[in-house]
C-alpha cells in the first residue's frame, strides 16, 4: 500500500468530532487578577463594577466599558485588574473569534471591609494587598476569592457564517505593525491580492485578486461598515472604488470573500468582496506626527473614549508629500467618526460620518525605450498635467435588534463623492482627424475624466434561529438597495501645458438603481455537517441621459457645417436634432450560492462552495429598452481549513488550502486608449492557494501564496496583466524590553511585510519583471509615547509596479509617430523612511 501524503495523514489523524457546527463556545477565564485597593480613594459606591469588554482572539480584554460604576478610583482598579486577565477566547464554528462580554467585577472582601464609610489611611489595605502589586491566581485555584460573575452578551454584530475556505475574516490586530500607505493595502492580507497604482498617491489602487484584474475595484464589491464603496456609473469604470478615504489606523477588521459564495454579496462581487470594519481599540487621544523621505508629512488625531466600545471613535488625518519623482506630489485630508450606543437591552445602533478630500499628481507611464535611451528617467513623466482629485462625504447609521432567536438589522447611508482623474497613456496617438474637423495633427491624449455622484443606500435583514433535529438552524431574509445619481464627463485636453479641452467623449447623467433580495439558510444536519447558502436576485435599472449623443455626421450640410464641436445638433444634410438622447434599460439576475462545510474535526473543516455573481455594465454601453447585459461569473472552490490553539493554547494557529475555478462571460481587459478596462471576451481561471497565520503573545505572522492561471476561453491564451503567482508574508513581533525606564516597561514591536509577484503575462507573449518588495517598521512605546521608524521598499529595489505592452507616441523621437506596441511601465517607489512620534493621553499605556 502506498503511503498517504503527510497532509492527509495529519488530517485523518485529527478526525474526531469536537464541537457543534454553528454554535458559539463562550470565552473562559484562564488567569484572573484581583484588584488592588486604591490607596486614597473615597469609599466605593457599590460592591461591584460592571464592565463590558471584548475578549480578543489573543485572549485579552479590550474595549473596556464601565456600565455600572463604583466610583472612578474603583472603576480604574477594576479595569487595571481586568487588563491582566487572560481568557480562552470564544470559538465560533471552530474558529477563534472575538466576543463581547460583561463582567460583574466584585470587590474582594478586603476592599469591601474598607467600605465602612471611612476611607482607609494609606497603609490600611497593605496587609492583604500591598499597593501597586497584584495577586495572580489561576482560575479555579482559589475559590475563596471574590466572585466575578461573567456573562457573554451580544452587543456587537455577529458575522455571517463562514462560506468556506475563501471566506477570510481578517482581524488586522498586531499585523497593523506592518507599514501600509493606504487602507487599501490591508487587502494584501488576503491571499492572491496584488495592488498596483498607475495614478500615484491619491489615485485608487488597481486591485488584482485571485486571477482577476479588477482595476480600481470594478470586479470586487467593496464596502466600509456596510456602506458601498463602488461607484456605479463612474466613467472611469462602472464600480470604480476609491478606498483612500479610510484612515488606515481605523481599520479594525476586514472580511474578504474570494468568490461569489454568500447571498449577501451583490453587484461587482465577481472576483469577490471585501468589507472593512472601522473602529479604534486604542483609548484616549492619540496624536501621531510623521515625517520622512520625499518631504512626506502626516499628522493624525485619533480619539476613542475610555467608556466606549471601539466603534465609538473619531479620527482626522492630514498628509502631504512631494513624491519620489517628477509630478508625484499629493495632499489629502480625512476625517471619520463613529458612535455606538444602545436604545434598549435588545437594540443597539451605530452612526458614522466620513469626509475625505485629496489632490494628487501622477507621473503615469514611461516607455521602456525612452528610459533605456536616456530620454526619460525612471521616475519621470511625459505629461505633468496628470493627476486628479477626489472628495467623499458620507453619513450612515444602523439599528440592530437581537432578542432570543430573532435578529434584525437595518442600515441606511447617504454618500456624496466626486472624482477627477487626468491620465495620458498614449501621448499623441488617438486623435483621429475627422473630415468635418479643421485640419489638425495629434492634439494630445490626456483624458480628463470627471464624475460626481450621490448615492442613497439601505440594507437590512431579519434572521430567525430554530433548533430542529437537535441542531441550530438559521434562516435569513435580507435586502439591499441603492440609488445613484451620477454626472460624468470625459474630455481630452490639448497637449503642452494647456488645460484646454478640444474634444468631449462623454457627457452622461445617469440614474441607476439596484435592488437585491436574498434568502440565506444555515442548515446543520449534524454537529459536523452544514449546508449554507441560498439565492440572491438583483434588479438593476438605468436611466441615462447622454448630452453628447451625436459625435459625427456622415453627410453634413455645406451651409450648416458641424465644425469641430464634439456634441452635434444635426443629422445628415444639416437637419436639426437635439444633442441629447435618453436610454432606459433594466435587467435581472438570479444567483444561487451554496457552501458545504464538513467539520470541524480537531479543528479541521473541509469545505466546498459554488456560486454565481454579476457585474453590471457601464451606463454608456446600455441600449434603449434592451435587457441590460451583465458580466456573469460562475465560481467553485474546495478547501480545507484548520484552526486551533496549539502548544498548551499558547499558539493560535490557522491554515487553509484552496483549489478554485471561475468563469466570466464578459471579462474586463485594459484598453490604453480608453485609459480604463473595457469589456472583452469570456475567461476562465483555475488555481490554488495556501495560507497560514500563527499568533501568540510574542508574535503574529501570516503567509500566503496563490497560483492561478487565467485564460481566454476561445483561444486558451493567458489573460494579460494578471499575476499568476502572488506570495505575501506579514509578520509582527512585540514584547516588553527586559529593562524598565523610570519604572515603566518599554514595549518594543516590529513588523515586516514582504511581497513577491511572479512575472506577469503581458500582451504579445511577454512577461513582466518580478516584483519583490520588503516593508518594515519598528516601534518603541513607553507610557504614553511611541516612537516608530518605518521603511517601505527597505532594500531599495528598483522595480516596475505595472508593465504594459501597447502603442504610444509621446513624440520623443520625431518626426514620425511610433505606432507599434512597446513596453511601458510605472515606477515602483524607492525606499522611503518615515519617522513617527505618537502620544496617547487618556488611554492605557
Amino acid at each position: 500500500m502506498r503511503s498517504l501524503p503527510l497532509p492527509l495523514v495529519v488530517l485523518f489523524a485529527l478526525l474526531a468530532p469536537r464541537a457543534r457546527a454553528g454554535e458559539v463556545v463562550p470565552p473562559e477565564v484562564v488567569t484572573r487578577v484581583e484588584a488592588v485597593a486604591p490607596a486614597t480613594a473615597p469609599p466605593p459606591s457599590q460592591d461591584h463594577v460592571l464592565l463590558e469588554f471584548t475578549v480578543t482572539v489573543e485572549g485579552r480584554a479590550g474595549d473596556v466599558v464601565v456600565l455600572e460604576s463604583a466610583g472612578p478610583a474603583w472603576d480604574a482598579a477594576a479595569r487595571e485588574a481586568l487588563s491582566r486577565w487572560v481568557f480562552k477566547p470564544a470559538v465560533h464554528e471552530g474558529t477563534i473569534v472575538a466576543s463581547r462580554t460583561r463582567l460583574s467585577f466584585a470587590m474582594p472582601a478586603v476592599l469591601l471591609a474598607r467600605d465602612g464609610g471611612q476611607p482607609d489611611d494609606a497603609d490600611a489595605g497593605s496587609a492583604a494587598h500591598p499597593p501597586h502589586s497584584s495577586e495572580v491566581i489561576e482560575d479555579g485555584a482559589d475559590g475563596a476569592h471574590a466572585d466575578h460573575a461573567m456573562s457573554t452578551v451580544i452587543t456587537g454584530r455577529l458575522l455571517p457564517k463562514s462560506r468556506g475556505a475563501s471566506d477570510l475574516n481578517i482581524e488586522v490586530g498586531k499585523l497593523s505593525l506592518v507599514p501600509v500607505q493606504t487602507a487599501g493595502e490591508r487587502l494584501k492580507l488576503a491571499p492572491g491580492v496584488l495592488l498596483t497604482n498607475e495614478g500615484g498617491d491619491g489615485h485608487p489602487e488597481r486591485i488584482f485578486m485571485r486571477g482577476f484584474d479588477a482595476r480600481e475595484g470594478q470586479d470586487i464589491e467593496l464596502s466600509v461598515d456596510g456602506v458601498p464603496v463602488n461607484d456605479s456609473g463612474n466613467l472611469h469604470g462602472n464600480g470604480y472604488a476609491d478606498l483612500n478615504f479610510i484612515i488606515p489606523e481605523l481599520v479594525e477588521n476586514l472580511r474578504v470573500i474570494e468568490g461569489p459564495f454568500d447571498p449577501r454579496q451583490g453587484n461587482y462581487a465577481v472576483a469577490g468582496s471585501a468589507e472593512y470594519e472601522l473602529g479604534l481599540a486604542k483609548k484616549g487621544l492619540t496624536v501621531k506626527a510623521s515625517a520622512g523621505s520625499f518631504n512626506a508629512q502626516r499628522l493624525v488625531l485619533l480619539w476613542s473614549p475610555e467608556s466606549a466600545s471601539s466603534r465609538t471613535y473619531g479620527g482626522v488625518s492630514l498628509q502631504r508629500a512631494d513624491g519620489f519623482g517628477q509630478n508625484r506630489g499629493s495632499q489629502s485630508a480625512r476625517a471619520a467618526a463613529g458612535y455606538e450606543g444602545r436604545l434598549s437591552e435588545t437594540t443597539s445602533f451605530r452612526v458614522r460620518a466620513i469626509g475625505y478630500t485629496a489632490g494628487f499628481r501622477s507621473a503615469g507611464v514611461v516607455r521602456d525605450d525612452d528610459f533605456r535611451a536616456g530620454r526619460l528617467g525612471f521616475f519621470d513623466t511625459y505629461d505633468a498635467r496628470q493627476g486628479g482629485d477626489a472628495t467623499r462625504a458620507s453619513v450612515s447609521g444602523d439599528v440592530h435588534y437581537h432578542l432570543g432567536s430573532f435578529t434584525a438589522h437595518q442600515q441606511a447611508a447617504l454618500v456624496f463623492r466626486s472624482s477627477r482623474v487626468r491620465e495620458n497613456f498614449t501621448g499623441f496617438l488617438s486623435d483621429v482627424q475627422l473630415p468635418r474637423q479643421s485640419p489638425h495633427g495629434q492634439r494630445g491624449d490626456l483624458i480628463d475624466r470627471d464624475s460626481e455622484a450621490v448615492t442613497v443606500s439601505a440594507r437590512g435583514y431579519g434572521k430567525l434561529r430554530k433548533r430542529l433535529f437537535e441542531q441550530s438552524q438559521e434562516l435569513e431574509l435580507g435586502y439591499f438597495a441603492r440609488y445613484d445619481v451620477v454626472q460624468g464627463q470625459q474630455q481630452r485636453l490639448l497637449g503642452g501645458d494647456s488645460n484646454t479641452p478640444y474634444a468631449k467623449d462623454y457627457d452622461l447623467s445617469s440614474r441607476l438603481s439596484d435592488v437585491g433580495l436574498y434568502a440565506d439558510a444555515n442548515l446543520n444536519f449534524t454537529s459536523w455537517l452544514s449546508l449554507r447558502g441560498g439565492v440572491r436576485a438583483d434588479l438593476l435599472t438605468y436611466l441615462v441621459n447622454n448630452a453628447c449623443a451625436v459625435n459625427d455626421v456622415r453627410r453634413p450640410s455645406p451651409s450648416n457645417a458641424p465644425g469641430d464641436a464634439s456634441c452635434l445638433s444635426q443629422r445628415d444634410f444639416g437637419q436639426y436634432r437635439e444633442p441629447t438622447e435618453r436610454v432606459s434599460a433594466f435587467g435581472t439576475a438570479v444567483m444561487p450560492r451554496v457552501s458545504l462545510l464538513v467539520g470541524p474535526f480537531k479543528g479541521v473543516t473541509v469545505t466546498g462552495s459554488f456560486g454565481d455573481g454579476v457585474r453590471s455594465i457601464d451606463p454608456q454601453f446600455v441600449s434603449e429598452n434592451k435587457e441590460t447585459p451583465f458580466a456573469a461569473i460562475r465560481a467553485w472552490e474546495g478547501g480545507v481549513v484548520f484552526a486551533d490553539k496549539l502548544f498548551d493554547e499558547r499558539l493560535d494557529f490557522s491554515a487553509r488550502g484552496v483549489v478554485f475555478g471561475t468563469r466570466v462571460d464578459k471579462d474586463l481587459v485594459f484598453s490604453e486608449q480608453e485609459g480604463r478596462n473595457v469589456i472583452g471576451g469570456s475567461t476562465s481561471r483555475l488555481g490554488g492557494l495556501l495560507q497560514a497565520r500563527a499568533r501568540s503573545s510574542l508574535f503574529d505572522v501570516q503567509a500566503h501564496a496563490t497560483f492561478v492561471r487565467s485564460q481566454f476561453d476561445d483561444t486558451g491564451l493567458l489573460v494579460p496583466y494578471v499575476p499568476d503567482l502572488v506570495v505575501r508574508f506579514d509578520g509582527a513581533v512585540f514584547h516588553d524590553l527586559p529593562w524598565k525606564l523610570l519604572g515603566a516597561p518599554v514595549k518594543a514591536s516590529a513588523g515586516v511585510g514582504v511581497t513577491y509577484v511572479g512575472r506577469r503575462a503581458l500582451p504579445f507573449g511577454q512577461r513582466s519583471d518580478v516584483i519583490f518588495v520588503t516593508d518594515a517598521n519598528a516601534e518603541l512605546a513607553w507610557r504614553w509615547v511611541t516612537v516608530g521608524l518605518s521603511a517601505t521598499n527597505l532594500f531599495d529595489n528598483r522595480y516596475r509596479l505595472s508593465e504594459f505592452n501597447f502603442a504610444s507616441d509621446f513624440q520623443t523621437t520625431p518626426p514620425f509617430p511610433t505606432l507599434v506596441p512597446v513596453r511601458h511601465f510605472t515606477a515602483g517607489a524607492p525606499r522611503a523612511l518615515m519617522l513617527t512620534l505618537a502620544f496617547n493621553v487618556g488611554g492605557a499605556s
Binding site: V432, Q433, G716, F764, P815, F816, V820
Partner: protein, 265 residues
C-alpha cells in the same frame, strides 16, 4: 492525491503559457526591383506603356517611414474617410528616412531598425516625407528623376523633382468637410498589399520599379525649360495642367505598380 495534484498541475500549466503573438524587431531594405533589370551605376532603359523609349539616369525616391498594418488593402482603399493614421492596427514600423536609389538593385538598408509584432500584416504604407505628415509645408524632395525620353524623332531630355508641401494642397471637396483632403493623404502611399507575418530577424524588402513612375507619362506635355540644350522638366505643383506632371505625381503615390514588399525570413 498524487494523481489529483498531477492533473491540477497539468491543467494549470495548460497547453500554452502566453498571451499570444510576440514583439519582433526586423531589418528593412529598399532597392530596385529585380525584374527591372537595373544594373548598379548604369542608366536604365525601357519603353513606357505610352510608347516612349526612356533612358533613366536618376531615379531616387525618399521614403521617410514604412508602416505595416493589419488592415486588408481592399478595406483600406474603400474607406474614403479613413484617417491617415489609425491607431491600434500597426504591425510594424521603420522610422528613419532613406533616399532609395531606384536604379540600384543592391539592398539599401533603412537607417532605423524595424519594430513590430507577429500579428498578420496585410498592407503597408510608405510615408513620402521627412517631417510631420500633417505639416502644411515640407521642403524635402521625395522624388528626383532625370533622363531622356524619345518617341520617333521627338526627344525629351527631362528632369524632375517632387516635393509634397504647400504645392500639393488640394482644396476640400465639401466646405463642410474642411479636412476631407488632408495633406497627409498626399504624402502617404497606401495601402500597398503585403501579406506577411514578421518574425525576429526577418528582413522586409521594399522593391521600387522606377518604370512605373513613367508608365502613363506623356512626355510631350512636359514644359520646356531651355532650348539648347533642350531640356524639359516636370512642374512640381498640383496646379499644373500638364498631363505629364499629374501622371508622374499620381504614379509616385500609386499603391500598385512602383512598390512591392517582400519578407525574407
Amino acid at each position: 492525491m498524487r494523481r489529483l495534484g498531477l492533473a491540477l498541475g497539468v491543467a494549470l500549466a495548460g497547453c500554452g503559457s502566453s498571451t499570444g503573438n510576440a514583439l519582433v524587431s526586423f531589418r528593412a531594405t529598399a532597392g530596385a526591383a529585380p525584374e527591372v533589370g537595373a544594373v548598379t551605376g548604369q542608366p536604365l532603359r525601357f519603353t513606357s506603356a505610352r510608347g516612349f523609349d526612356v533612358t533613366l539616369t536618376t531615379a531616387r525616391v525618399f521614403v521617410g517611414a514604412l508602416y505595416l498594418s493589419t488592415v486588408e488593402p481592399t478595406t483600406a482603399s474603400g474607406a474614403l474617410e479613413a484617417p491617415c493614421v489609425s491607431p491600434g492596427i500597426t504591425t510594424g514600423e521603420v522610422r528613419g528616412g532613406l533616399e532609395v536609389d531606384a536604379l540600384d538593385p543592391t539592398p539599401q538598408p533603412f537607417p532605423a531598425e524595424g519594430l513590430g509584432s507577429d500579428l498578420p500584416t496585410r498592407s503597408a504604407s510608405l510615408w513620402l516625407t521627412n517631417g510631420d505628415v500633417n505639416a502644411p509645408d515640407e521642403r524635402t524632395v521625395v522624388l528626383r528623376v532625370e533622363g531622356t525620353a524619345s518617341r520617333g524623332a521627338d526627344v525629351y531630355p527631362f528632369v524632375g523633382s517632387v516635393r509634397i508641401g504647400s504645392n500639393r494642397v488640394t482644396p476640400p471637396r465639401n466646405p463642410a468637410l474642411p479636412s476631407s483632403n488632408p495633406i497627409c493623404e498626399q504624402r502617404i502611399v497606401t495601402p500597398i498589399a503585403f501579406d506577411a507575418t514578421l518574425s525576429p530577424g526577418a528582413t522586409v524588402q521594399l522593391f521600387v520599379d522606377p518604370r512605373a513612375y513613367f508608365a502613363s507619362v506623356d512626355f510631350a506635355t512636359l514644359e520646356p525649360v531651355s532650348q539648347a540644350p533642350a531640356t524639359y522638366r516636370f512642374r512640381d505643383e498640383t496646379a499644373s495642367a500638364a498631363q505629364a506632371d499629374t501622371a508622374l505625381f499620381n504614379a509616385l503615390r500609386a499603391n500598385q505598380g512602383p512598390y512591392r514588399l517582400e519578407l525574407t525570413p
